[in-house]
């Protein structure tokens, strides 16, 4: 095969792998937005939290990996409950700027707390997968990427089934659709809000664990990746779960292609900025994304 094609395939595959993680983060974001119209501006800190707790339980407390992972997810659930009960429930119905700022505040507290407890040094992350690359024809793929993609897809499939068939999942969809009707049909909207935060923190923690093992270490730059959620959800539509999944993969591929082809011309850093350029273009052309609900404004 032509080496240009191999180069491109390599970029696309890396993009899909990273994009899967973006999809996970975006899923957490979309769930919260769908259920409670809250925009979480600190998605990165939730990811960071998951990664640090996983590191602490596996390497610091030397628990066996399965127990450590379960413990991490339990702690993530507690975090979600604390955030929802303590901070966001009192702010229901407040102007959007308050909600945006309070999520910045929560993110700042989490960051400070992590920094205080474990310091800001890079922590080596436990190797969860083998390092030997697997070859698909001429294209080498690292198992970490492959596994992260498999895990992400399994999770997303699981969530699709959950939303489609389980009672709780249907109650969540009903709440997203119309809160008042859901309330009158006996859905506890408060419980749904809390649940959506818990799912979001769990999903973000998983994203953190996957990112940690992809990068082989945890540090605070992980939180910056969280901001990539915004291009993803704008592309897919803020309230669309399929949109989050497709958007994540598309943004992952886009940033890798842009980085691979434009970095030599423009001199580095294109990968970081390309998703945001895409974001602006999408906002100008199609503010509600490709799968989002169009809003109609009345006085």
């Amino acid at each position: 095969m032509n080496e240009h094609v191999v180069f491109m395939l390599q970029l696309v595959i890396n993009g899909i792998a990273v994009g899967g993680v973006y999809s996970l983060m975006a899923l957490g974001f979309v769930l919260i937005f769908k259920a409670s119209s809250v925009v979480n501006f600190g998605p990165g800190e939730l990811v960071l939290f998951g990664a640090y707790v996983a590191w602490a339980t596996i390497l610091n407390m030397t628990l066996p990996i399965p127990i450590a992972l379960v413990l991490t997810l339990v702690i993530a659930i507690v975090l979600g409950l604390v955030i929802e009960r303590g901070v966001l429930r009192p702010l229901i119905g407040e102007p959007i700027i308050s909600v945006i700022m309070v999520t910045f505040g929560v993110a700042s507290v989490i960051r400070g707390f992590l920094n205080m407890t474990w310091g800001s040094d890079t922590r080596p992350f436990p190797v969860l997968f083998s390092q030997q690359p697997i070859h698909f024809g001429p294209v080498p793929v690292s198992p970490v990427h492959l596994w992260s993609f498999v895990v992400v897809m399994a999770l997303l499939a699981g969530f699709s089934v959950f939303f489609r068939f389980s009672t709780t999942g249907m109650a969540m969809r009903a709440t997203a659709d119309n809160q008042q009707v859901a309330l009158s049909l006996g859905v506890s909207v408060k419980w749904i809000f809390a649940l959506s935060w818990c799912i979001a923190t769990v999903v973000s923690a998983l994203a953190g664990i996957i990112l940690g093992s992809v990068r082989g270490g945890v540090d605070f730059s992980l939180a910056d990746l969280g901001l990539k959620v915004f291009p993803v959800v704008i592309l897919g539509g803020l309230d669309s779960i399929p949109g989050a999944i497709i958007g994540g993969v598309l943004i992952g591929v886009l940033e890798n292609l842009a980085g691979g082809y434009l970095d030599p011309i423009l001199g580095g850093g294109v990968k970081e900025v390309a998703p945001f350029v895409a974001l602006v273009i999408i906002l100008m052309l199609r503010p509600h994304g490709f799968f989002g609900k169009r809003e109609i404004e009345r006085v």
Binding site: I97, V102, S108, V109, G112, F276, L279, M284, E297, V299
Partner: protein, 347 residues
């Protein structure tokens, strides 16, 4: 006894201050400020200078977010454009300092217009995300346009000269900063006594309704972005002269969040609030630093914890104000004031 605001003439209605006491207070404050550089050490002068710069920046952001209701997370980018434009105009073009700052501010307001264009279609959350993207694109430009900005290596700004005097010390730049803080505050105060200011407030309260009543959304939203970024440009220009070396790292997203926190903690849609917020947010790390210095005797590691403590205190302060005092410090101040005005019959 005075027990309310009675306006019985047009002159009385137009007055900024109801009584003469605040005027006397302000004059005393200005006189005290004029003598501060004689007494204050470099450390406190530096803090005061940063407060002055933050006041101008926060006033600008409050015009946009607090008064016009257009959420912007791009304020750090405006500051960066103002700072770099001032520095480049002076160091590379040779424009004198007193022309470079206004020119940079005009340039920044040009960028403000570009940032503001999405506000014509987008609102609230979507606008916030658009300004977030604009922030990253601007930072990318500053880091990678190395021939102009020197990238991550940092840009050294030459000391400005005014009337043949080099503004190379904190004391001298102090006068320049506060000479700009005063007109910036006055202009903001007066802005909201005009048609433009009222249009801004109408747009904040309900933009579709304001449009129906004949407020041109196109014009006033862009105007709000223009004025706000002009302030940020001035603040950025002063930053360039205060720190004398510019790094892209000084204008991260966290700076934009800090400015938003200033107007939330100080009070949205309040001039006094912008000032209180700027003072609060600038003093917060300094107070923590002082606390850490005195705590090192007991707990030698205290200094290393400043950054994380700051993050936690900052986050908790923002959460606290949003939950318990959404109108901020300005509202607390008002409550204290009205208590004493009506004393001993306050209830």
């Amino acid at each position: 006894m005075k027990c309310g605001g009675f306006r019985i003439s047009y002159r009385g209605d137009e007055r900024i201050f109801g009584t003469s006491l605040p005027i006397v207070g302000l004059v005393v404050l200005l006189v005290v400020l004029a003598f501060v550089p004689r007494f204050a050490g470099t450390y406190w002068l530096d803090v005061l200078n940063r407060i002055g710069i933050a006041i101008i920046g926060a006033l600008g952001l409050n015009i946009l977010v607090g008064y016009t209701g257009q959420i912007s997370i791009g304020h750090a980018a405006f500051l960066a454009i103002g700072a770099y434009a001032t520095a480049i105009l002076e160091a590379k073009v040779g424009v004198p300092f007193y022309l470079a700052i206004p020119a940079a501010a005009v340039l920044t307001s040009g960028f403000g217009l570009i940032f503001g264009i999405p506000s014509l279609r987008l609102r609230g959350l979507y606008l916030a995300i658009a300004t977030l993207a604009a922030h990253f694109i601007t930072t990318y430009g500053i880091i990678h346009w190395e021939s102009m900005t020197n990238g991550v290596l940092g840009f050294t700004v030459p000391a400005a000269t005014l009337f043949g005097m080099a503004l190379d010390s904190d004391a001298r730049i102090f006068y320049v900063i506060f000479a700009l803080v005063v007109p910036a505050t006055l202009f903001t105060k007066n802005l909201f006594r005009t048609k433009v200011g009222r249009a801004f407030i109408a747009i904040r309260d309900r933009d579709v309704a304001a449009g129906v009543m004949g407020v041109s959304l196109f014009r006033y939203k862009l105007l709000a972005f223009l004025i706000s970024s002009f302030y940020a440009g001035v603040a950025g220009g002063l930053m360039a002269h205060h720190s004398r070396i510019l790094f892209p790292d000084a204008f991260t997203l966290l700076v934009a969040i800090d400015y938003l926190a200033m107007i939330i903690i100080g009070g949205m849609g309040s001039i006094l609030g912008s000032i209180f917020g700027a003072v609060f947010m600038t003093l917060l790390p300094e107070v923590l630093k002082l606390g850490a210095t005195s705590a090192t005797g007991v707990y030698p590691n205290a200094f290393g914890l400043i950054a994380s403590t700051r993050d936690i205190v900052f986050g908790l302060a923002v959460i606290f104000f949003l939950m318990y005092e959404p109108l901020g410090l300005a509202r607390i101040w008002l409550r204290i004031k009205s208590y004493w005005t009506l004393w001993p019959y306050s209830y």
